[in-house]
């Protein structure tokens, strides 16, 4: 089983298409979701869960942002963006009606459909829930096709938790949703502790499960280790990598990690392909 290489790449992958901001949702203090519709000359986009686009804030720059919308809804393009730098700040500050340059979709997908009949563990840390949301939409919609489905979601603090409405909808759809935060005061009545602590309470059979993990690299390392400790095979663990992507089509080499181009071979990788590479200090 492998993460899926893209089946669809734009005809002119280096040429941004104009998309218009239709709606802006402020998720948390520094996270915004943009809903985009095609502008003049741009075509609606189909994508797979886990893929990303290059978003261009005109006059500022371009960054890779995972698609966080529902893959079954091609009428709009959804991106959830955390304000961490110059370009992401500009994107977070856009208002309805603003124009964004979009290239994509790029990269490999979460191999969701390959898991039919199996248990699925989705482990997300912080903004890492955004690239997993398309997979969760799919799992919820086709819940009967899968065994136990578990979402383990960790955030820094309660007010940094994303997608509250969806978390409840996924619970209603029969997904075991477990949420924790690293830090909280007495007002928080939920779980307190790192996301790996949730693995002990998750209902799945390690021998028949696959896991999709997305979050900071350290979080993914700890989570993969904890899942392996619970008995999961490394080749059934998948992570989504992030690096400094520029061209997004494997020309420039900015995102190269050892022999892998994160933009083209990833961002979704089977864990054995990444385990050694992300532990090399010099890379």
């Amino acid at each position: 089983m492998e993460s899926r290489r893209p089946e669809t790449v734009a005809a002119e992958p280096l040429l941004p298409q104009p998309w218009i901001v239709r709606e802006v949702i402020r998720e948390t203090g520094d996270v915004v979701t943009l809903s985009l519709q095609p502008g003049e000359g741009a075509a609606a986009m189909s994508f797979g869960p886990g893929q990303f686009n290059m978003l261009y804030a005109f006059g500022v720059g371009e960054v890779p942002i995972s698609i966080s919308g529902d893959p079954a809804d091609a009428s709009r393009l959804i991106h959830t963006i955390r304000d961490v730098g110059l370009v992401s700040r500009a994107l977070c500050g856009l208002q309805p009606g603003a124009l964004v340059g979009v290239r994509g979709p790029f990269g490999s997908r979460w191999p969701v459909e390959d898991q039919a009949g199996h248990d699925v563990v989705v482990a997300a840390g912080g903004i890492g829930l955004a690239p997993l949301r398309p997979a969760l939409y799919h799992l919820a919609r086709h819940r009967a096709r899968y065994g136990n489905v578990v979402l383990l979601y960790g955030a820094r603090k309660p007010d940094e938790l994303l997608f509250g409405v969806e978390l409840e909808a996924w619970r209603q759809a029969g997904i075991q949703v477990e949420v924790t935060v690293d830090h909280a005061d007495a007002a928080w009545r939920g779980n307190l502790g790192v996301v790996t602590t949730l693995i002990r309470h998750a209902r799945f059979t390690p021998e028949k499960a696959a896991a999709f993990i997305c979050g900071p690299e350290v979080m993914m390392r700890f989570t993969a280790a904890a899942l392996e400790e619970r008995g999961m095979a490394p080749e059934r663990l998948f992570i989504s990598m992030e690096r400094n992507m520029k061209c997004a089509v494997g020309f420039c080499g900015h995102c190269q990690l050892g022999p892998e181009f994160i933009c083209m071979d990833g961002p979704v990788f089977a864990w054995p392909r990444m385990r050694r590479l992300i532990a090399i200090r010099e890379l």
């Binding site: 007495a186 790192v194 002990r200 900071p216 979080m219 700890f222």
Partner: protein, 154 residues
């Protein structure tokens, strides 16, 4: 109603415990419950027990006079709380407060220490189980300290 011995045998902490050891630990155990907000134990108090959680969650925290209590972890069903009963001076190192109504199996530390001294195999089995929990907690704490979701995260 299930026998206490069976309840203990089904708890993950005592998974695969030898039958003779199961009988020994059961002799030091009793069911207990705590209402939401009650303390299982408090920092500095005598650490006379440890607890296997069956239902509900417990918050582990450190009270700082004049400041808001620092909460560092919640533990839930299937987990264990309390290891200070094993080590002198047998004093609790933090507070454990019930978040929900909680039901536990409470073990008498003095009773169990005596049995461990008399039966080294039981002592070794218990030590391995507690060492595993301690390693897990330290691993969790390391990840928590790294503040991986912060903007200055490593």
């Amino acid at each position: 109603m299930k026998h206490l011995r069976d309840v203990i045998a089904e708890h993950p902490f005592f998974q695969d415990l030898a039958p003779d050891h199961l009988a020994l630990v059961t002799g030091c155990a009793q069911m207990a419950s705590f209402k939401s907000g009650e303390f299982l134990f408090r920092y500095g108090g005598a650490a006379e027990h440890f607890f296997l959680l069956r239902h509900g969650r417990v918050s582990l925290e450190i009270a700082v006079p004049g400041k808001e209590t620092f909460r560092f972890q919640t533990v839930g069903p299937g987990e264990v709380i309390g290891w200070s009963w094993l080590f002198e001076p047998h004093q609790a190192q933090f507070d454990a407060r019930a978040v929900d109504d909680v039901s536990v199996i409470r073990f008498d530390g003095k009773c169990l220490r005596g049995k461990c001294e008399a039966d080294a195999a039981l002592g070794y089995s218990l030590m391995k189980r507690f060492a595993r929990v301690l390693v897990q907690r330290f691993t969790d704490t390391r990840l928590q300290l790294m503040d991986v979701y912060g903007k200055q995260a490593p």
